[in-house]
Amino acid sequence: MDLQGKKVLYVNLNKHTSETKTLPDLNQYIGGVGVGLKLLESAKQYDPIIFSIGPLNGFFPYASKTAIVINSEAVEDLYIGGTLSTRIRFSGLDAIVLLGKSETTTVLDINNEQVTFRDDFANYGLPGKRGVMKTTTNNLVLDDYFIAPGTLLIDKMRDKNIEGLVMTGTRTFDIKQKEKYEHLYYQILERKDELSIKQGLFPSCSGCPMGCEKSKYGDLGGNILTHSLVTCKFAERIYSNINTAFSCLNVLGYHYTHEDLENLPNLIQKMLRGFYD
């Protein structure tokens, strides 16, 4: 995993091309909504859709969402569950930026950093390692179950002639501090009583044991730190604690300080004000 910068896949829908860039300047925004807003700011003229995960996705329990940042009539951030965040993580990417508009209807088949523009969903991705997002008549559906909140994203996808997105991640990461990591992982997993939902038998997001009823519909807005880590909003009590967030980041090898995490809301609010000045 590249901790020196955020790895961003830029997809040019007009030309059906793509390129990956590693951007060290994005590190200060942690991930999720923070990185998403910064990417929106820099690509605003191309009306982007930004999918952005956080540094804990794939590594810690309840870090199971993907932030989506778009500019509609206002800047909007929304969050969806399912398998998308872990598939982006295991592709080695931190964010995907969809720029412009495709001339023809297309399905984006992303395998790690490789993008194939397909006409339909036939022969896509790798079973067990893919997340599949499809536009249906009324909704944007992920993994045939999870639904993106509201209509902003599906409207934007339709505007851009994107019928769906298939994300496959086949990378693995070594764990450097294995014992510490595992200890912390289980410590957090065992805190399920602190989640603000009840355990159920509904399809669950990848990395979350709760099987809750509410995960189906995704989230809108909320705590800046948890939405930058892109943890579930129902786990806010766990991950909005700066010490917990710091410990998780530290054990993965990130060099964030407590101050970096404390200052994040100000940094993001300042950036948000810039959109409306």
Binding site: K129, T172, S204, G207, G211
Partner: protein
């Protein structure tokens, strides 16, 4: 010989905690090369998902108790199989 079996697959919610536990035991994080794989398909008429669990025989090299206990819904069991001339009975 101890074997891991998915005795209650209908209780699987697709959280993949078992997949990640199996990978952690091999000192890695990710899906590639995992000895456990979860597949999902939509269930007809219910709007739910149906999960199936694929276990590579190599999973038996791992700490099966840890895999069993990480599952939130008790999908797995560990069974003892008797061996005769290197083959299970």
């Amino acid at each position: 010989m101890r074997s891991l079996v998915a005795s209650l697959p209908n209780k699987c919610i697709g959280c993949e905690l078992c997949v990640f536990e199996a990978q952690r035991q091999l000192s890695k994080v990710g899906l590639e090369g995992s000895f456990i794989r979860i597949f999902r398909e939509p269930e007809k008429n219910t709007g739910f998902l149906k999960f199936s669990i694929d276990l590579d025989p190599q999973v038996e090299k791992l700490d099966l108790e840890k895999i069993k206990s990480v599952c939130p819904n008790g999908v797995f069991d560990i069974i003892e199989e008797e061996m005769e001339n290197g083959l299970t009975r």
